[in-house]
């Protein structure tokens, strides 16, 4: 079964709900190694995404992703605004104007999103950023899609890999963003951006089951 605009909208609503549920956790993660605004920024952004979808629901998956991108860019405020905004913008270009996405298209969208984040933030794996969750997610998604998995399975393996990837950021020393100013003191906590990426992918995957 393919992934339609309605499915993408359902996934994003699930994403908005999970971000709201984990708002305080993200604030706390960011408080110890950043500026404590990640939970608040993401919640504000995804609330805006959900409310925008109430008033204007585009008709293709790509158009939905593009609307999400512009909403996040304009409402998030912190570094995650341009990063998530770029990810959704590139994912939107990757899927073009297809009306339904198969597993390969979902994997390609994730891949383009990752490339956008890397280009925008110039982070590499091991820098203790959302890239540490996205790289394993994209690898797992691409492998599953290559074996013929549909969108549900592709998102499920991506979400599982992202969770493991996010957890792997705990011992790392941050080399990007505000946390990098803390040096060694940034070790011992999961990166908030990697955590929110894993949360979102899990919500997207669960919205399909």
């Amino acid at each position: 079964m393919g992934c339609t605009a309605q499915d993408v909208i359902a996934a994003l609503r699930a994403g908005a709900a999970v971000v709201a549920d984990h708002r305080d956790e993200l604030v706390e993660l960011d408080r110890v190694i950043g500026d404590a605004d990640h939970g608040e920024n993401m919640d504000r952004g995804f609330r805006a995404v959900a409310s925008k979808l109430d008033t204007a629901a585009p008709e293709t998956p790509g158009a939905v992703l593009k609307q999400v991108a512009t909403t996040l860019i304009s409402t998030v405020g912190g570094a995650s605004g341009p990063l998530y905004g770029t990810a959704f913008l590139r994912a939107a270009s990757a899927v073009g104007d297809a009306t339904e996405l198969d597993g390969m298209a979902v994997a390609a969208a994730l891949q383009s999103g990752l490339e956008g984040v890397v280009a925008r933030g110039r982070a590499e794996p091991g820098d203790k950023t959302m890239v540490d969750a996205l790289v394993p997610a994209v690898d797992a998604a691409t492998a599953a899609a290559a074996e013929g998995a549909g969108p549900d399975r592709v998102l499920a393996v991506a979400a599982a890999a992202a969770r493991t990837g996010a957890e792997s950021t705990e011992p790392l020393v941050a080399r990007k963003g505000r946390a990098s100013y803390l040096g060694e003191r940034s070790a011992g906590h999961v990166d908030p951006g990697a955590r929110s990426t894993a949360l979102l992918l899990s919500a997207f995957a669960e919205s399909r089951s």
Binding site: N41, I73, G77, G78, G81, P82, T86, K176, G177
Partner: protein, 223 residues
């Protein structure tokens, strides 16, 4: 109209302050602040940056300067989403020095690339020595009679007066020396009213350079 500047900061007041400082050096350059979130909170606002980017462009393009990481990302995203991304450059430069250097360069009528390069070069520091151009060397001693000495506006006037000349011009005060093309270098000398500075000019246009500086000093920098 010349190249415009946009100052992107997490702080509304920081952006406004940098824009004010840079604009003082370059009265004809459009320098727009894009700082903080709507309502004054700290953060970078994509819509604000995009609006400033479009307002600062009079046709010659815009150079954007930023403070911290996400300001850079927001600035780059604003450029990427322009109809024509080649009309703007996000300069990887120190915010204050870069904005001032870019403003002075833009005031001199330079193009987009040159203004962006001036901003970036402001962060490189003085460890890059330029080879002295060939030609005569002229040394001239001058007394500063204007009220504020070589402070911001006179320093900018002096640096700007040398734009386009084939000359290496140094200004000495006691043991300190500054490149006359560097506004911040000149300000760093701390030369005040009544101080005697030495001008050392070399290169093909050394004579013209000295003549221009003398004219400024004798006219008390228009004060």
């Amino acid at each position: 109209m010349g190249v415009g500047l946009v100052v992107v900061s997490h702080s509304e007041r920081l952006a406004a302050g940098v824009a004010e400082l840079a604009a003082q050096m370059a009265p004809d350059v459009v320098v727009l602040p894009a700082g903080g979130l709507a309502g004054g909170a700290l953060g970078t606002d994509f819509d604000k940056v995009s609006a400033a980017l479009s307002d600062a462009d009079s046709g010659s393009g815009v150079v954007l300067l930023y403070d911290l990481g996400s300001a850079q990302m927001t600035a780059e995203l604003a450029v990427e989403t322009l109809g024509d991304p080649t009309r703007a450059i996000v300069a990887d430069a120190p915010l204050v020095e870069g904005a001032v250097a870019a403003a002075v360069e833009a005031q001199g009528g330079k193009d987009l690339d040159a203004v962006a390069r001036a901003a970036v070069a402001a962060g490189v520091g003085s460890d890059i020595e330029q080879a002295a151009p060939a030609g005569e060397t002229i040394t001239e001693e001058l007394e500063l009679r204007n009220e504020v000495g070589l402070h911001a506006r006179p320093a900018a006037l002096l640096a700007r007066s040398l734009a386009g000349l084939q000359a290496d011009v140094r200004v000495r005060l006691g043991d300190a020396e500054a490149d006359a093309a560097s506004v911040l270098g000149l300000m760093g000398l701390g030369a005040r009213k009544g101080d005697r500075v030495t001008l050392v000019a070399s290169g093909a246009d050394a004579g013209e350079a000295v003549r221009r500086v003398l004219e400024l000093v004798e006219g008390n920098f228009g004060e």
